[in-house]
């Protein structure tokens, strides 16, 4: 199940570690954060999910970043 507290804990860890992650891992690498720390990384996201699940993590509560990606802020043009 979704655990908002765990999600927020992992997001806070990601924001704190973002610059280090960008320096440490190659571009396009998937890096997962679980329990507030890096728990897996690979160029293949399926590998990352396998490692997380085998360690008992609920992946929906983990943060997954792809090095080099930035948030996609922008306006949505849908109107009611």
């Amino acid at each position: 199940m979704v655990d908002k507290t765990e999600v927020e804990r992992n997001l806070e860890a990601y924001r704190r570690m973002k610059d280090d992650l960008d320096r440490t891992y190659p571009m396009r690498e998937f890096v997962a954060i679980a329990g507030g720390a890096v728990a897996a990384h690979s160029q293949d996201y399926e590998d990352v999910f396998r490692v997380l699940k085998s360690a008992g993590w609920e992946t929906r509560n983990c943060v997954l970043v792809r090095i080099g990606d930035e948030p996609e802020d922008g306006d949505i043009l849908l109107t009611l």
Binding site: V7, T59, R60, I76
Partner: protein, 138 residues
């Protein structure tokens, strides 16, 4: 994947039915308004987002407010359309979509549509993946 759908909704909207595989490996098909003006790949009503999200990413700011973000897996192995894509959660977008038609769970935007090939005419919207191989003149 090859879809050709008649416009649907209070004001007719183009739409696609997209299969997603969630973190438990269960596949759900969801009807989404196709919005080529939307810069986000997928935006879902929160109940659908929580059901389909495989993992999380940082939130974003939009004219519909701040949105939670995560990774969704489009899963149509028959066509080879299996992609991990960024998705977002928005109650306001979900309400706007379902106000147009009760079956709509959100939006599918340009970052996903451009992975294949899309178009429309007076009565239908279509999408196919992979895109057709159009010869390119030198």
């Amino acid at each position: 994947m090859n879809q050709k759908n008649r416009y649907l909704g209070r004001t007719p909207r183009p739409w696609l039915e997209i299969p997603f595989r969630n973190s438990a490996g269960i596949i759900h098909k969801v009807k989404l308004i196709a919005d080529t003006g939307c810069p986000q790949g997928i935006i879902l009503a929160p109940e659908w987002f929580d059901s389909l999200v495989t993992s999380r990413f940082d939130s974003i700011r939009t004219n519909f407010g701040e949105m939670d973000s995560g990774w969704l897996q489009v899963f149509d192995p028959d066509s080879g359309f299996v992609e991990l894509v960024r998705g977002y959660s928005s109650a306001r977008v979900g309400e706007a979509a379902s106000a147009s038609h009760a079956d709509f769970a959100g939006l599918i935007g340009l970052p996903i549509l451009r992975l294949g090939e899309y178009g429309g005419d007076a009565s239908e919207f279509w999408f196919r993946y992979p895109a057709s191989q159009t010869p390119v003149n030198p």
